[in-house]
Amino acid sequence: MSETYIPLLIYFDKLEQEGVKFRITMNISSPLITMLDDDLLQQRYRKYLLERIWLAKKEIRRTADNKELNDLAKMYYYNFKEYYKVYKNKYGFQLLKGFKHFQDAGFLEILACPATHGFLPLLNVTKNAVRAQICAGVDTYKKYFGRAPKGMWLSECAYVPELQDALSEFDIKYVILESHGITNANPKPLYGTVAPIISPKGIVAFGRDMESSKQVWSSICGYPGDPNYREFYKDIGYELDWDYIKPYVAKSGHRVDTGIKYCKITGKTDYKETYNNSKAMAVAEMQADHFIQSRIEQINKVAPSMVNPPIITCPYDAELYGHWWYEGPYWLYVLFKKIYYNQNTFELITPSEYLEKYPDIQECSPAISTWGAHGYNEVWLNPGNDYIYRHLHRIGERMTCLAENYRTPYPLQERALKQCAREVLLAQSSDWPFIITGNTMVEYAHKRIKDHVGRFNALADMIDKNEINEDYLEDLEEKDKIFPDVNYKIYGD
């Protein structure tokens, strides 16, 4: 919120005020939409921001004898105050209003996403489980953004041809794939990733451009690794005296990030110098120039031989901008301005605008692919996490049976069926196998799988025995309240 979404909205707003025609495409997932709209989380975040403002104020006093640190403390104080103002006064705690505004104004195209970021190629043995993932994602999108999505961000860019039917059913026009989803397509596309391809059933696929990806993502030479940029891993939450920092970290007593960081990356050394925001901004500006120059060269090389102008698709995780790469939102802001003012080789465009302008697309079947390590499914299917699939498939199938068997449920039964559908969707999140493979919060991921499968099975048994325990159901409805209007009937279609 403080590092990515609010800074992005602030810069979008500045660009709009300054009359800069910019275009950006973002996915806002259903869980994120739901969290941004949640009263409890809104109140918590409001309190969090007020605490940050207090902490930054304390930091201004604490660092009074060190000008460099003091300037940074003042920067954080100013930023947190601005974030609070934007959050409370501009958007009334509803950041979604901001994103909706920029979409309606034509600057932003928001992509939908499968409901809980389910890894669809591995759920596809139950067709209705895939349809339900897409349906709930699209329904949430429509509810909050007041229109149907044109594109879908497939979880982990994971594509198999079998997804075409479900995507078409929900009127998804295009998806974005990892580069080899295009370059390995059949027949081999003429233009590689600089042109979209269209599948036999009419789903357009744009491919990630490798050169621009590398410029940003590479752990060796990527922009965010510049020594002048802010160091992510040095946070006062871990470094200052416990009694001083205690009120601002986790209530459980664990030290956590506060968002106040004073060091720059410096280099591959434990010794870290003090961060200088002005210098970092200057680096971002230079890198924006470099990015533009690289795109111009790329375009000039391929454009003369193409039927339509090339399109360079540059997808990144949103959290890279601001959270990992503190200067990322500023880099985007400068990049958009420089593209608008300083060159006339190319312009920013959203995928659907491109399709409207250049609707004739080479027909190829996109290749099976993901953007995970090694390009396929190993991250989400390996000996550490493979046990989950027999349970995910089983609950998907049983949900299908429930939806078929109880087509005209009485009200309590309907509530139980909806809750079953929520538990299926939550169990299917690709986060759980990802966390297990990443060896981060492994026990948590195992527990989430057990909980959602366990809750589903318990409720399904109650439905089948016609012995629904309303207290139990109410407890689950309170715990897992995402997708309040979930269309469980889709499992039975």
């Binding site: 990892e178 027949p187 990806s213 031989s305 609707p359 290749a367 493979d386 498939h393 366990g454 318990a458």
Partner: protein
């Protein structure tokens, strides 16, 4: 209100249903899991042979190239990773058991496609290329002027997009 009520669940060890499910891990490897119901075991014993004295087998079937081979598996195993030779092919796996050199099938898996891990060769070098209009979905063949040599050089015959250090997930 029972919110925050503590809950504890364990995953079922088996569901007593006969299933064989095949999943793709990569262009080189598939994953199969299975479960055999008590009823299936009884029926097998009645129909063929003493289930406990037969040997479980996975029959790997390449539907595209029309061949199969068998892998004997441990009677206690309920899942297996299968290395495959041929990319860009459809596969199925049949779970069965052998006894006295005979094979009896129990259950056939879903079928999967093992993808190609490298770009396919260019086709139709001198022919018209199929284009589809994304709005009306009409298709038409167009003769387009493509300096293929150059474009082919640009995106080469390497499986790009799969370098670890630029995968988004490696950053998290």
């Amino acid at each position: 209100m029972l919110h925050n009520k503590s809950e504890y669940y364990e995953l079922p060890i088996k569901y007593d249903e006969t299933v064989v499910r095949l999943l793709v891990q990569s262009p080189k490897r598939m994953y199969v899991y299975w479960d055999i119901s008590d009823q299936t075991i009884q029926e097998f014993s009645k129909k063929y042979f003493d289930y406990a004295k037969s040997t479980p087998i996975l029959r790997i079937i390449n539907l595209t190239k029309n061949y199969f081979y068998d892998i004997p598996i441990d009677p206690f195993a309920n899942n297996y990773y299968i290395d495959v030779e041929d990319e860009n092919c459809e596969y199925e796996v049949e779970l069965g058991r052998t006894f006295h050199d005979k094979f009896a099938d129990i259950y056939m898996s879903n079928h999967v496609t093992i993808p190609n891990s490298t770009p396919l060769p260019f086709e139709n070098e001198n022919e018209e290329i199929l284009f589809k209009n994304y709005i009306c979905l009409d298709t038409k063949k167009m003769r387009v002027n493509i300096p293929k040599q150059r474009l082919r050089q640009d995106y080469g015959d390497l499986p790009f997009g799969i370098e670890d250090n630029i995968s988004s997930n490696s950053m998290k």
